[in-house]
């Protein structure tokens, strides 16, 4: 066999549905697979130069792979989207980092030459499939004290993080949350181009979801009054955490040469990625070691990163990351258009939202060379992907 060449991987385009509130929200009567289908079709519509038969894989993540999120959703969504039946697909799960893992996994396959073009994305309809639906944790976890009981309740892991890093106070968390809402409100127009309208039928007739449902106006005073559902006298509230949401995302990835030959745009270049495990009881710190890994693999340091898209599962968890790397809570490079605390976090779908937003910001920030997308993952993990901006003046094609 001849010497294998690793190919550059391009993030071509990304879209998402508007994110709805779980339980009675925008998508109360909409199937999760239909939301994925909408994203896939929108990618095809936006990139008509791509012959659908050239897609080599459809990898779709879902945390709860049951019902409309089951049945190997990557394959079934591909068929429902009208892709040729020659296009394969699969389902993937790494909880919150599902879509991120879909991206890294198909990217690795593109890099090694197994695929030319692939679709990666994720979906979570937390209304139809509440967190923990159908789970059956092995009793050994607790019997052998492999993990603390709190490790399975994400809000409790965030409380644990406040315990361990007492200087990350509730006030700092609330201030970060408020800023997320405010930044989102200002940036809505930047996000709209990548939203896929979704028609949904209910007893009120057909409606059309066109805007995120979760963002709200708030204030430090209001945030201070919210209950702490995970612990009496705790610090984690509905205000400084992402909510329960429904949403889907998808993106198009390709080898750079293939993208060029098909005249597909290159929105970002994949530089490196890393996943890492941490104590499940403080899963929120996961992005720290995963980012260190990704930086090491890329030969970069944190100073090289010009834009950060960090998933805001909990404010404290983002603050722990910033604190570790010596970045200010209100650093303008971090989540410039707000984050999951405002827009919502439909678990397995969120990774591609971070990437789609970073790609948009790259286009507006030609001076920035590298960006980071990172997120924490349940049961104690973190995932990080470093991207290079093709709009950067010194970009080497």
């Amino acid at each position: 066999m001849s010497t294998r060449q690793i190919r550059n991987v391009a993030f071509v385009d990304g879209v998402r549905t508007p994110f709805g509130k779980a339980n009675g929200g925008l998508y109360k009567d909409t199937r999760a697979d239909d939301m994925v289908v909408r994203c896939i079709r929108e990618l095809l519509r936006r990139n008509p130069q791509l012959p659908p038969s050239r897609i080599d894989e459809v990898a779709i993540a879902a945390t709860t792979q049951i019902g409309d999120q089951g049945l190997t959703i990557g394959r079934t969504a591909a068929l429902l989207a009208g892709l040729p039946n020659t296009v394969p697909g699969y389902a993937i799960d790494r909880m919150c980092a599902g879509a991120m893992t879909a991206v890294t996994t198909v990217s690795a396959s593109i890099a090694i030459g197994a695929y030319d073009v692939a679709i990666a994305g994720g979906v979570e309809h937390m209304g139809r499939h509440p967190m923990g639906e159908g789970v059956d944790p092995n009793p050994r976890f607790l019997a052998e004290r492999l993990v603390d009981q709190s490790a399975l309740v994400m809000g409790s892991t965030a409380e644990n993080l406040h315990d361990r890093l007492p200087h990350l106070t509730k006030e700092r968390a609330d201030a970060f949350a408020l800023a997320s809402q405010e930044k989102y409100a200002k940036a809505v127009a930047h996000l709209e181009p990548d939203l896929v309208p979704v028609a949904g039928f209910s007893s009120e007739g057909w409606g059309l979801a066109t805007a995120d449902e979760a963002p709200r106006e708030t204030s430090m005073e209001k945030l201070a009054t919210l209950k702490t559902p995970f612990r009496p006298h705790g610090r984690v509230t509905a205000g400084n955490a992402a909510g329960l949401n429904d949403g889907a995302t998808a993106c198009l990835l390709a080898s750079e040469e293939v993208a060029a030959s098909l005249e597909l745009p290159i929105a970002m270049r994949l530089v490196s990625y890393g996943f890492a495990g941490v104590e499940p009881e403080v899963m929120g710190v996961g992005p720290i070691p995963s980012t260190e890994k990704a930086l090491r693999l890329a030969g970069l340091s944190i100073e090289d990163i010009g834009l950060f898209e960090l998933n805001e599962a909990f404010a404290v968890q983002v603050l722990a990351f910033l604190d570790h790397f010596g970045i200010a809570d209100d650093d303008p490079r971090v989540n410039p258009w707000g984050g999951a605390i405002a827009v919502g976090h439909p678990l397995a779908s969120s990774g591609v939202r971070l990437m789609t937003q970073l790609a948009r910001q790259f286009a507006l920030n030609r001076g920035v060379r590298y960006g980071l997308t990172a997120m924490c993952v349940g049961i104690g993990m973190g995932g990080s992907v470093i991207w290079e901006n093709p709009n950067w003046e010194g970009f080497d094609v």
Binding site: A199, S203, G205, G207
Partner: protein
């Protein structure tokens, strides 16, 4: 019946135009198995929704339907069967009043036809300024003419002005009279009924996006100019001549529709349309049409007298005795619809092979016509087999015989089969004339014998007469109905009586025609006598279709049973024996007419017709007295689906009543 109201549910959606668009969903609250319809309350709901939408000054107004269904038109259950002309006028005006809002709106209006759209459902779309259609829309049609009406809520005037006269005639007149043929979405798009077709996966999102681009001026909608030259009248003249040739003026709704299409040349004339609808709505033909529609839609699907479907035995393998043409046709039908092993047997390998090769050739034909996938064809080829031994029936739950029409032959076959099959195996005979009761008499388990009387060609003819012998039990009967339903047939329960229903009626009715010829009526006069009924074919054409041999055979059987009412016609024997074709260039064969031996008592057309209708009425009365079927409606259903007798006669008994024969 009270109206199942299809509500118009108004919501405002953001389509990126600065102000919201109004989206109206037609929804009766049930799933697609109960389609949306328009009754008075539904129309008024639509009117209010449009008014409310207009008041909000939206970017545009769009109407769509609940999943899979747009709207299938006027709610027939709210139709007063005998309306006054004033009520009928109001019926027309009611629809126009509601729909005009969409046509006259200063805000652009759109119909997003996401699913089945028929009659008034399609008409509401025609009133909108623009239309999209889903590639998955199952049924698109204006079937009114079939029901003795015309598209009276704007369709007869708007459609020709949108698509031109030729496609309008096809949709409004020709398709309804061709077993209510539906348009496929692509055809409807190509003829110009719709501006745009979108795939079903994101039909509504695409339609809304497209509508927004039309309203913003980004997308221009081009429609070809409608040709209003003298071609308009010439094409109508041609269509009128074709119609006259086919139904001899018997369908007033079709004639009226053509008149309205002529008027439409000068632009929509809604007043004329409303008047025409009122004229027709009070006509017996419309009453008959609605009655016939109900028979075909409801009674054919829920056969009267059928035992509980739960009693039916599961059929996992079917045996067919005989591999001749009829047997092979039946085998193919079972194969395609049941997809279970089917074994054909016959006396020698040559016959078996011939039957099998027929089935294989038909499967190949279906594949080449793209009516069967290669995978399904492979499955069917694996499922069909042949044998010279009936031992192959041992594990079948249903065996059908299609052997020679001779009681002794059939009895011998069943005696042989009974030695092989399980005691529960259902034995079905395709006899067209022999007694089921007698055929079963010598068997150990006579209660399992049932009649399944198919009509030729088996794949096409929708009627299946299911015959209950004196000892046929409910399991055999329920199985027959369950199988008949799976075969896609309209099943009617009939008693074990000579020639059952459809053939008996044909024999009696046509017997009077041949009798008139025997007595001296010129052949062409007798042949024309029934033209005013608008039957699908003249007696000569019918005879040519079924074959003089078969007709003579049925005639002989009926004569044996009821010699007085079914006299043997000497000329029928002459025709059968001559072997000459009955028709030459679609006209009776002069060489054949020359051979006829006729008396000297000719009748006029009117006299021949009167005699035929009297005979029909008498025979039907006797059949009902004998209990051959449960009700006259079953006879009508048999004649509509088995004989193609027209809706405007209501099958036949409503017509006979209206003309004083019954």
């Amino acid at each position: 019946m009270s109206e199942l109201v299809t509500a118009s549910k108004l919501r405002f959606v953001n389509v990126g135009l600065g102000k919201p668009a109004a989206l109206i969903t037609l929804d009766n609250g049930f799933d697609h198995t109960k389609p949306n319809t328009f009754g008075p309350a539904g129309l008024s709901s639509l009117a209010s929704a449009v008014d409310e939408a207009l008041a909000a000054e939206p970017a545009f107004i769009a109407v769509t339907g609940k999943p899979y269904i747009f709207c299938v038109g006027f709610d027939l259950t709210t139709f007063n069967e005998t309306p006054t002309r004033e009520q009928a006028l109001e019926l027309g005006r009611m629809g126009h009043r509601a729909f005009a809002r969409l046509r006259e709106s200063t805000v652009p209006t759109f119909a997003f036809v996401n699913g089945a759209a028929m009659g008034g459902g399609l008409e509401v779309a025609l009133h909108c300024h623009y239309r999209t259609v889903s590639g998955g829309a199952a049924a698109l049609a204006l079937p009114e003419v079939l029901l003795g009406l015309i598209p009276g809520w704007g369709g007869s005037q708007l459609l020709p002005n949108l698509v031109g006269i030729l496609p309008a005639i096809q949709v409004i007149v020709q398709n309804p009279l061709m077993q209510n043929k539906m348009l496929r979405p692509k055809q409807a798009l190509e003829m110009g009924m719709f501006d745009k077709l979108f795939e079903p996966a994101d039909f509504l999102e695409s339609s809304l996006g497209w509508a927004a681009s039309v309203v913003s001026g980004q997308t221009a909608v081009d429609r070809p100019e409608v040709d209003r030259s003298e071609m308009w009248d010439a094409i109508l003249g041609f269509a009128r001549a074709e119609l006259d040739k086919r139904v001899h003026g018997a369908i007033p709704s079709a004639n009226k529709a053509l008149e309205l299409l002529a008027l439409a040349k000068e632009g929509p004339n809604f007043e004329a349309e409303i008047e025409a609808l009122a004229d027709l709505a009070v006509s017996p033909e419309a009453r008959n049409g609605l009655y016939a529609f109900d028979l075909v839609q409801r009674r054919a699907k829920k056969p009267v007298g059928a035992p509980s479907p739960g009693l039916a035995a599961e059929v996992t393998k079917v045996g067919i005795v005989g591999a001749g043409l009829m047997a092979a046709q039946i085998g193919l039908l079972f194969l395609r619809k049941l997809e279970v092993p089917v074994v054909l047997t016959d006396l020698d390998q040559e016959r078996v092979d011939k039957g099998l090769s027929y089935v294989h050739a038909e499967i190949d034909k279906l594949v080449s016509k793209k009516r069967l996938s290669a995978g399904k064809a492979a499955k069917l080829r694996r499922l069909v087999s042949g044998s010279v031994s009936k031992d192959a029936f041992a594990d079948a739950e249903l065996v059908i015989e299609a052997v020679f029409e001779e009681m002794s032959v059939k009895k011998r076959v069943w005696a042989e089969v009974e030695e092989i099959v399980s005691p529960e195996c259902i034995l079905a005979t395709n006899t067209s004339s022999l007694s089921i009761t007698e055929m079963a008499a010598d068997l150990k388990h006579p209660s399992r014998v049932v009649g399944l009387h198919f009509f030729n060609p088996v794949a096409v003819m929708p009627l299946l007469e299911i015959v209950r012998g004196e000892r046929t039990d409910d399991v055999a009967l329920a199985t027959a109905f369950a199988v008949g339903k799976k075969l896609g047939k309209s099943c009617v329960l009939v008693k074990d009586a000579p020639a059952f229903v459809a053939n008996r009626i044909f024999a009696r009715f046509l017997g009077t025609i041949w009798q008139s010829v025997d007595e001296g009526t010129p052949f062409d006069v007798a042949d024309r006598a029934l033209d005013p009924l608008g039957l699908p074919m003249r007696p000569s054409a019918f005879l040519s279709l079924v074959g003089a041999g078969v007709a003579a055979h049925v005639g002989a059987i009926m004569h044996d049973a009821y010699p007085d009412r079914f006299p043997l016609s000497p000329n029928m024997s002459i025709i059968a024996k001559s072997g000459l074709p009955i028709l030459v260039d679609d006209e009776p064969n002069p060489a054949l007419i020359e051979q006829l031996q006729q008396g000297d008592r000719p009748l006029t057309e009117e006299q021949v017709r009167d005699r035929a209708l009297k005979a029909l009425a008498e025979e039907i009365t006797i059949m009902l007295q004998e209990g051959v079927v449960a009700e006259a409606a079953d006879i009508d259903l048999c004649m509509i689906v088995g004989g193609g007798w027209p809706f405007h006669l209501g099958g036949i008994t409503p017509y006979l009543k209206q003309h004083g024969y019954l």
